[in-house]
């Protein structure tokens, strides 16, 4: 093993084991549907070291509660607001885990269990416009990609 390879292995190890998510066997990852696998990869790779000390991430009781209650919806959710069809009703299954974003979306009326309809999606990963409870909201493409929805 070269030094460079060693460094790669070390980084990968920190992401899987020493961070906030437990390590899991690679075989288990392969069996999952594609979108779930991507979501797992993102959450494991993206947060920088020490991310769990952020104030927003201390909102654990709420996250757990929502996660428990919405497990069934989340299991059926094969779409995100970025990938779902236009002018079709969907039910919000899971919001992004980040506390500040969750709170903001909650305040705007976008919460788990809500029925949403995608009105438009701009080109070049532009914002997605959704209608929730009669109000139109524009959400950045990346954020819309983290909001999982299930067909109604």
């Amino acid at each position: 093993m070269t030094n460079a390879a060693g460094e790669i292995r070390k980084r990968s190890g920190r992401g899987n084991g020493a961070g906030c998510f437990p390590a899991e066997p690679q075989s288990a990852r392969r069996k999952r549907p594609l979108n779930t696998q991507l979501a797992t990869c993102n959450t494991q790779r993206f947060p920088p070291p020490g991310w769990h000390f952020r104030k927003e991430m201390l909102d654990l009781p709420n996250m757990k509660e929502n996660a428990e209650n919405k497990t069934e919806d989340a299991a059926d959710a094969d779409f995100t607001l970025a990938t779902c069809k236009l002018r079709t009703d969907y039910r919000v299954a899971a919001l992004p885990p980040d506390g500040a974003t969750r709170r903001r979306l909650h305040c705007l009326g976008l919460s788990e269990g809500r029925v949403v309809r995608k009105i438009s999606g701009q080109f070049f990963k532009g914002p997605v416009v959704v209608r929730v409870n009669g109000t139109d909201l524009a959400l950045g493409h990346a954020m819309a990609g983290h909001i999982r929805v299930a067909p109604v």
Binding site: R103, L108, G121, G134, T135, D136, L137, A138, G140
Partner: protein, 582 residues
């Protein structure tokens, strides 16, 4: 004196209600984020008690997400009585904030605003039922037409008396967000009824204007229409009304005055200016009473009226947030998100409200980038009027070339700033208001206040600027400055040495500065380069003060350094480019 705080979600009509109660003018528009700081006024309640009223920026929650929301959340603690303004067309989302206020146990009165809109949308709300459930007074109102405002004033007087008597106000136990939504849903089920109705034309247009293809076509069509409207109305007012009025009515008076002042050449030089070809020329004489008034009233004011009329219509209809959505991908390349389109568009009127509107942006980096781009690349309406006047004499294409060049500067500078200031760029989360028919009275009110503000603020600066310039010119004080800066002004930008005077004078007023270009006898490429430079160099003194207040001295210095570098480099580029294409 008791302090009443108006608080509510963005774009629910708090400012309209504040204006109705206090009589103080506020800017009212149909998009979230119109009010970015609080406004204070007084009102006499029925019964004679005088109270202080505070209008706050809109907030979705007491846990703030940007500077404007932080101001609102802080003011809740300072208020003796909270007036929670709700949008009756979107009761469910608005009640979330009401729940948070009830958790704090502050004395509360709920206002169900836009009650007429709710009826039009087929939404019926039982206000008394809602009051019984929340255990607070609930008053339906239509702030823009004053319906229900009198009843609200009586309710506020009652609540003030209850405060004096030491009566308690309801307080609910703290809820988790999920519980709040569950409670809100239950309240809604009891007090709100929806009737089925067909989609209206405006609702169909709403969907078209955020469509990825048609939305872009729509945006181009709207911007082209606005440009054509400003040019037609502005030129129509100048050529049809104001220029003839100045030539036939005011010119004879000035000629008489000039002949009487022949014995006092210094005074004649200051008041009437230098004769051009033996006659007074309103554009070139540069006298306080000739060019000073002509530039302000017959050149800038018509374009200013046309611009603010078009902007008011776009604001009140509710198109600006949709433009932000359509342009979001493009704005991301400049280190901003789509909402930044609104401060930038406001900057085309005057850079001051444009920079103030950047408060609605989430991060300091975004505010810095947006403010710097506005001060450098966005010409205010006064400067635009002069660009139209000077470059427009040679046809529309020199004007278009100046605008295109400035747009290119914004794009290049935005890219450079994004590259140089790598930081967190938050995702767009924006509420898009429904299209509403603009009310003629509100549009006229806004137009009146914009024109009044311009005349009151600009007149002393324009006259003072011309006076100062004439005095310095009379005593040849600028000659040494011109000689020192000649290598840059002449060598790099291709302008005559004395063109430095208008550029320096631009710090005082851009329109005066542009007016000073007329007597210099510049060729068309030089004129176009000078117009570009007037936008790129220092902003006017009012903009500079606001920039300093908003960014602090450190970031202002950075912004000024960027400004000087941009002006030097792009001034030279403009000189080379315009020389070749003209």
């Amino acid at each position: 004196m008791k302090k009443l705080v108006l608080i509510g979600n963005p774009n629910v009509g708090k400012s309209a209600l504040f204006t109705r109660i206090t009589g103080i003018h506020t800017t009212i528009s149909n998009y979230a984020g119109t009010t970015v700081t609080f406004k204070h006024g007084h009102a006499l309640l029925p019964g004679g008690e005088k109270v202080g009223i505070v209008d706050t920026p809109g907030t979705y929650s007491l846990e703030h997400a940007n500077e404007a929301e932080r101001v609102a959340a802080e003011l809740v603690d300072e208020g003796d009585l909270i007036v929670n303004v709700l949008d009756a067309t979107n009761l469910e989302r608005n009640l979330f904030l009401t729940m948070q206020l009830l958790e704090r146990g502050k004395p509360l009165v709920v206002v169900l605003n836009m009650f007429d809109d709710a009826e039009h949308k087929g939404i019926s709300i039982d206000a008394e039922g809602l009051a019984a459930l929340l255990r607070v007074r609930v008053i339906p109102t239509v702030a823009v037409s004053s319906d229900g405002v009198a009843k609200l004033m009586h309710t506020l007087a009652d609540s003030a008396k209850r405060l004096d008597a030491g009566e308690g106000f309801p307080r609910i136990r703290p809820h988790a967000p999920k519980e709040k939504w569950a409670d809100t849903g239950e309240i809604l089920a009891r007090v709100q009824t929806l009737r089925h109705r067909r989609h209206t034309f405006l609702e169909r247009l709403q969907d078209v204007s955020v469509h990825p293809v048609y939305g872009l076509v729509f945006a181009v069509a709207v911007m082209a229409a606005v440009f054509a409207f400003i040019r037609t109305v502005g030129e129509g007012l100048i050529n049809g009304v104001l220029d003839p009025a100045f030539t036939h009515l005011y010119l004879p008076l000035m000629e008489k005055l000039s002949s009487k002042l022949e014995a006092a050449p210094f005074l004649q030089h200051l008041l009437v200016g230098a004769p051009i070809g033996g006659k007074i020329d309103f554009e070139q004489s540069m006298g306080m009473l000739t060019t000073g008034f002509y530039v302000e009233l017959a050149v800038v004011l018509p374009y200013l009226l046309a611009f603010y009329l078009a902007l008011s219509l776009l604001e009140d209809i509710g198109y600006l947030p949709r433009l932000g959505v359509v342009l979001d991908s493009f704005m991301h390349r400049l280190g901003l998100h789509g909402f930044s389109v609104i401060p930038i568009l406001l900057g085309f009127g005057c850079n001051v409200p444009g920079i103030l509107a950047t408060r609605s942006l989430e991060t300091r980096q975004q505010r810095f980038v947006a403010s710097t781009l506005i001060t450098i690349g966005i010409p205010c309406v006064s400067l635009q009027a002069m660009i139209f006047k000077l470059a427009g004499q040679h046809g529309i294409w020199p004007v278009a070339a100046v605008y295109l060049f400035l747009a290119a500067v914004i794009v290049i500078l935005g890219h450079c700033l994004k590259w140089g200031m790598r930081g967190f760029l938050p995702e767009l989360i924006l509420e898009i208001p429904p299209y509403r028919r603009p009310r003629a009275r509100l549009v006229a009110h806004k137009l009146y206040h914009n024109a009044k503000g311009f005349l009151l603020e600009a007149t002393p600066l324009i006259l003072g600027g011309i006076l100062l310039m004439n005095v310095l010119d009379y005593f040849h004080a600028f000659e040494s400055v011109s000689r020192v800066l000649a290598p840059v002004v002449h060598g790099l930008w291709g302008l005559p040495e004395n063109a430095i005077l208008p550029i320096i004078m631009g710090f005082l007023r851009k329109d005066v500065a542009a007016g000073m270009l007329a007597p210099l006898g510049l060729s068309l490429p030089q004129l176009m380069t000078a117009c570009v430079l007037l936008s790129l160099t220092f902003p006017c003194v009012a903009t500079f003060i606001v920039l300093f207040n908003e960014l602090g001295w450190k970031d202002t210095l950075k912004s000024v350094a960027i400004m000087l570098l941009t002006a030097t480099v792009f001034g030279a580029a403009a000189h080379l480019l315009f020389q070749h294409i003209v």
